[in-house]
């Protein structure tokens, strides 16, 4: 796991079915910060091989520019899991999204296979991150140990639909029934320096509902949200983009931190007030988000 990988902000992550060549080809143009090539739930059993091969070719042949590429493989308890990793890892996605993670063991098992494949193909060890998807009550109970399980882990997310099914509840548009699970994921992620990604909003026609749900996720502390249609991306990006005022403030904090460092000072002060390290790192993040959003960021 590299520092850059872990900290690279992703406001929006667009799911693309792995068996659709046209969508794979065009996925980079819609303005999401990342795409998730899916070979799990959106792909029928009979299409798994084709999707896996197509995604591999897309990864090795197409130029996706600056966006991050994540591949959602099939779960560890399926027959496809190892074959997926064997095909996908050598194609070097930025991260593997691991579905139905119930315990630390699931992450460690993936980590072991990915490490072996990295070595076999001469790739830097730990270069490919893992995002763990928590989709059961048991996973939520184990969230802290999952978050602590592996240095390869870069993010946590939850699968809202599956989790609701496992809990025997109906998932609503507002998503209040998953409030505890969402908070648990966010807090565990923050505790271990991971990103936390909010679950998808399934009604693609309802952009207002999406905005409301995204805003709740943002306020809980999520760092980004998955999308299932390109039309959702601008909404998610706008909720997760800082305001101009926040950018200006962050720029001040970062500038002060740089100045303090240059002068060998341990104490950073902005407008006469002391700021500590977490505030500085949040300010850096705000600036990164602002750059992603195409906002003007002062030269520092």
């Amino acid at each position: 796991m590299t520092e850059a990988q872990q900290n690279h902000p992703m406001r929006s992550l667009l799911y693309i079915p792995g068996n659709n060549p046209g969508m794979l080809q065009n996925c980079a143009i819609y303005g999401s910060d990342a795409v998730i090539f899916d070979i799990e739930d959106s792909i029928s059993i009979s299409e798994k091989d084709a999707a896996r091969k197509l995604v591999k070719h897309a990864l090795t042949r197409l130029d996706f520019g600056r966006i991050r590429i994540v591949v959602r493989v099939n779960a560890r308890d399926t027959d496809f899991f190892e074959a997926d990793l064997e095909e996908i890892v050598p194609a070097k996605p930025h991260a593997i999204r691991l579905p139905k993670v119930d315990s630390a063991e699931d992450v460690l098992a993936a980590d072991e296979i990915i490490s072996r494949l990295e070595e076999k193909h001469g790739l830097p060890r730990g270069g490919i991150g893992v995002q763990a998807m928590l989709e059961t009550a048991r996973a939520i109970v184990n969230v802290n140990s999952i978050a602590a399980s592996s240095r390869r882990l870069v993010g946590l997310t939850l699968g809202g639909q599956d989790l609701a099914a496992d809990l025997g509840i109906r998932a609503t548009k507002e998503g209040l029934e998953l409030l505890y699970a969402k908070s648990a994921v966010v807090i565990a992620a923050k505790a271990y320096g991971l990103q936390a990604f909010d679950t998808v909003y399934t009604d693609v026609a309802d952009l207002e509902g999406l905005r409301a749900q995204t805003a709740v996720g943002f306020s809980l502390g999520f760092s980004g949200k998955a999308a299932i249609h390109p039309s959702q991306i601008p909404v998610i990006n706008s909720v997760y983009s800082p305001s101009e005022r926040e950018v200006a403030k962050a720029a001040k904090v970062v500038a002060a931190a740089m100045e303090a460092e240059a002068r060998g000072l341990g104490v950073i002060s902005v407008d006469g007030k002391m700021v500590d390290a977490p505030v500085v790192s949040q300010a850096r993040r705000t600036l990164e988000l602002a750059r992603l959003a195409g906002m003007e960021v002062p030269e520092l």
Partner: protein
């Protein structure tokens, strides 16, 4: 047959004479006849004064044809306002065949998906020459395979109106579909079961054809009300038939905004180009086609104009229900409607005095004293292919066979201050920006911007635009660079093989020949 050819100013080999058509001038620049010095003289058309006691309503289609004086070798015309629902062309050609007619020139304003019957008529020798704006399906194949006795002449909508007014296209008998008509021939497209909206193309034929037959399935009490699009004094006969078309295919759903994310993305980029170029302001004028990304651009324009309380001057063209809504909302003061893309606008034409039915000459004829397109601010157009010189092909499919329509493409591109092509960078794996388009319909000098999902190319002639779009942070790329990026994904397709034989010519709006169409191998 091979013809003596010269290279026109685009370097395309074009014939200088076609027997039976006459001498042809090569294209020499989009504005070369529009510098104020060009003079034209209409060639006269003979009109017979009807007997004062004549009953215009013919007993049957056959009787109307007999009374029209139509003979072998003559020219007949139709309008294409009934779009893919049109039944009249098929009905008339079948009757002409039964009556033993041969060697006719067919000169409709355009042909569409419902006109495979024309290919049969060509094969049987009923029709041997064709003048049209568009061709689809079997007709395109028939032309591309060289089944016509003489090259097809493809004209733009404005160019056709010009040719008719000049007399270079002389129509002997016009069969004009009338969704509502009275016994003296007053007709309109805004009422009846087969209502199609405006009759802008029919208006020109009615004015200039030697003999005019209104074909209707809806004979109403005299006088037709509330609107008369073609007045009785232009109409020789009226024929009543069972049905002139299929209403469900007249309204082809062109008003639906696409939900395809790729097309929406291109449309949004297109809108941003228009905004950055500074054209979306008070009194602006606008034209967009129906369907695909071009109509979707209207959605962004509409939202922007609403949010910024901008009222534009007018919209023209093929009018969709969407445009009629914008008129109703007060976003534009006037709609000029030559043809309606869906039947829902009939209500608006009939009852909103700012929704004006305009004939094809008023719309786009470059030789009259002021056509609408020449004053346009912005036009958003589609294309089948473009090239590095910004030339546009809207006729040739990727297999080299004709399957498109010239339409108002070259007219509006030449007239508008900003002409914008919205096009996916590739279709079915074939790149949309070529080194050289197969058939030039719209010359690059009249095209300002090509918008694809992989970047925006600005015509180097428009340095002002280039600067404005760059300032707005839009993804502007050199067209060669954009082409190369697309080809990295698609590769470069093999050239399609053609014979030397010329099977069609594309006439530019000013009557010069901009390109030749060759027989497919």
């Amino acid at each position: 047959m091979n013809y003596t050819c010269v290279r026109n100013s685009l370097g395309r080999l074009v014939p200088i004479e076609i027997p039976g058509v006459g001498s042809l001038a090569p294209f020499s620049g989009a504005y070369s006849r529009l510098d104020g010095s060009y003079v034209w003289t209409p060639s006269p058309v003979e009109h017979r004064v009807p007997k004062i006691t004549m009953n215009k309503v013919a007993a049957s289609l056959r009787s109307a044809i007999e009374r029209s004086g139509l003979q072998n070798g003559m020219t007949i015309s139709f309008h294409h306002h009934l779009r893919n629902g049109d039944a009249i062309v098929g009905l008339v050609l079948a009757e002409l065949e039964k009556m033993g007619f041969r060697d006719l020139t067919l000169a409709p304003s355009s042909l569409g998906d419902s006109h495979d019957c024309v290919a049969d008529a060509i094969k049987k020798g009923v029709v041997t020459r064709l003048n049209t704006s568009g061709v689809r399906g079997e007709v395109g194949k028939a032309i591309s395979n060289g089944l016509l006795a003489s090259p097809a002449i493809i004209r733009s909508h404005g160019g056709r109106a010009r040719a008719i007014e000049e007399g270079s296209l002389k129509i002997d008998v016009a069969f004009l579909g009338a969704p509502a008509c009275d016994r003296l021939g007053n007709m309109t497209g805004v009422s009846g079961a087969t209502a199609c909206g405006a009759l802008g193309y029919a208006m020109v034929d009615a004015r200039y054809a030697r003999h005019v037959i209104a074909v209707t399935d809806n004979l109403v009490a005299y006088p037709l009300s509330t609107k008369i699009s073609v007045p009785q004094y232009l109409v020789d006969q009226v024929v009543v038939v069972d049905s002139i078309g299929d209403p469900s295919k007249i309204a082809t759903g062109a008003t639906r905004i696409t939900r395809d994310p790729l097309q929406l993305y291109i449309a949004e980029l297109g809108f941003k180009v228009i905004r950055a170029a500074g054209y979306l302001k008070r009194d602006c004028s606008f034209q967009t086609g129906g369907g695909g990304p071009s109509l979707a651009v209207a959605r962004y324009v509409r939202d922007y104009m609403k949010a910024n309380s901008i009222q534009g001057s007018y919209c023209i063209g093929g009018i969709t229900g969407y445009m009629a809504e914008m008129l109703k909302e007060g976003l534009f003061r006037t709609l000029f409607d030559v043809q309606s893309f869906d039947a829902s606008v009939t209500e608006s034409i009939a009852h909103n005095s700012n929704h004006i039915e305009a004939d094809a000459s008023w719309y786009a004829n470059p030789f009259n004293k002021g056509c609408l397109v020449n004053d346009l601010d912005v036009v958003v157009l589609a294309a089948l292919d473009t090239d590095v010189d910004f030339n546009v092909d809207v006729l040739t499919g990727h297999d080299g066979v004709l399957r498109g329509a010239s339409g108002g493409h070259s007219d509006t591109a030449a007239g508008a201050k900003l002409s914008l092509i919205t096009i996916p960078s590739m279709r079915n794996g074939v790149p949309s920006i070529r080194e050289r388009v197969q058939t030039v319909v719209t010359p690059g000098e009249t095209v300002d911007v090509i918008v694809t999902e992989r970047g925006i190319a600005v015509n180097p002639r428009r340095e002002d635009l280039l600067a404005a779009l760059k300032d707005a942070g839009l993804p502007v790329k050199d067209i060669h660079q954009l082409k190369a990026e697309i080809e990295k994904i698609t590769g470069i397709p093999d050239e399609i093989a053609f014979h030397d034989e010329i099977v069609g010519v594309v006439e530019y709006r000013d009557g010069t020949i901009i390109d030749s169409i060759r027989k497919i191998k």
